[in-house]
Amino acid sequence: MIRNCSQLAEVRQALNSGHWPQAVAPELRAHAAGCNRCTQEILITQHLFAAKASAITAFQTEALPPAPALLWWRAQLCRRDSALAQAARPIAAAQLFAIAITIAAAIGLIATHWGSIVSHASNIPAPSFSASAFVALLGNWGLAPLVLATTLVAALGGVALYLSTDRH
């Protein structure tokens, strides 16, 4: 059960102001000696005050704290970086949009002129082995390889764009 003592605030104030135990009334000291809650408060607060004092001494003598100017400068850099990234976001979106439009236009162009491309390729003389094989492949599979290749290029382009940003 959590019980508080009516004189706990007084004890706490004396502890925090450094007046405990010398500069407090004898009645308060007598009360604290018999009160479990106040004894607990005194025990823990004095222990943690000592731990804090030794840590502060260690910080001043043994730790190597950075100069505040350096921290302030680093914080400004972080702020500027994030502001820059925020400002660059619409540009990256516009670039992606432009790439998408270009790819769509290329696919549309190829699709509308597909017949003439195939007839032109079939008119190429026999020695061009690879061209005739390609035409045969297109004849069997239709637009599937072209669409697949375009998708692959678009996907790789996206990955390349993602990896080329500053953050990565």
């Binding site: 959590i2 925090n16 004894t39 607990q40 408060e41 025990l43 823990i44 607060t45 222990h47 943690l48 005050f49 731990a51 804090k52 030794s54 840590a55 502060i56 001494t57 260690a58 910080f59 001043q60 043994e62 730790a63 190597l64 704290p65 950075p66 505040p68 100017a69 921290l71 302030w72 680093r74 914080a75 400004q76 850099l77 972080c78 702020r79 500027r80 970086d81 994030s82 502001a83 820059l84 925020q86 400002a87």
Partner: protein, 182 residues
Amino acid sequence: MNWEDSIPAIAIAHAVPAAEPAMDSDQFAAFYERTSRQLWAYLARTSGDPALADDLMQESYIRFLGAGYPGGGDVASRSYLFRIGTNLLRDHWRRKRTVPLEDLPPERSAARDLSGQTESRLTLTPALARLRPRDRQLLWLAHAENYSHREIAEITGLATPSIRLLLFRARRQMAKLLKEGA
């Protein structure tokens, strides 16, 4: 030639209006002078790792400056700084292991302390080392920093009513450990 011109990214960033900083350099230096010892003592004593306290203290100030001025004067800024430090410490503990903070065995988080004698002044006292990390934080904030239950709730992200109960339990355990040690 300005030093900033030598770093292209900074020069470009001049064109981008960043949000107003929380404090100017001099204000921050004064604030740092007032708070750094206490923040470092808190981080070092609750983590038991002075090197980690160094890192987290730096990161706390950088995030504090980046977050903007919280308002409410020096007291609010100080508790906001402690809140950032507490969150960073919690993130550190969570990254190391996936169990919840309250379920962490005390000896694991204080393992580094118990191994070395040379850093005894910087590490945990035996009683603190045997407490759970969250209990150490609560006791430190309540007793060493003299924060109220409401302020502790804001710093730790716990509900105000539960602070009273958690502190009661932590206090009871620590008093027992201190009496045993004595």
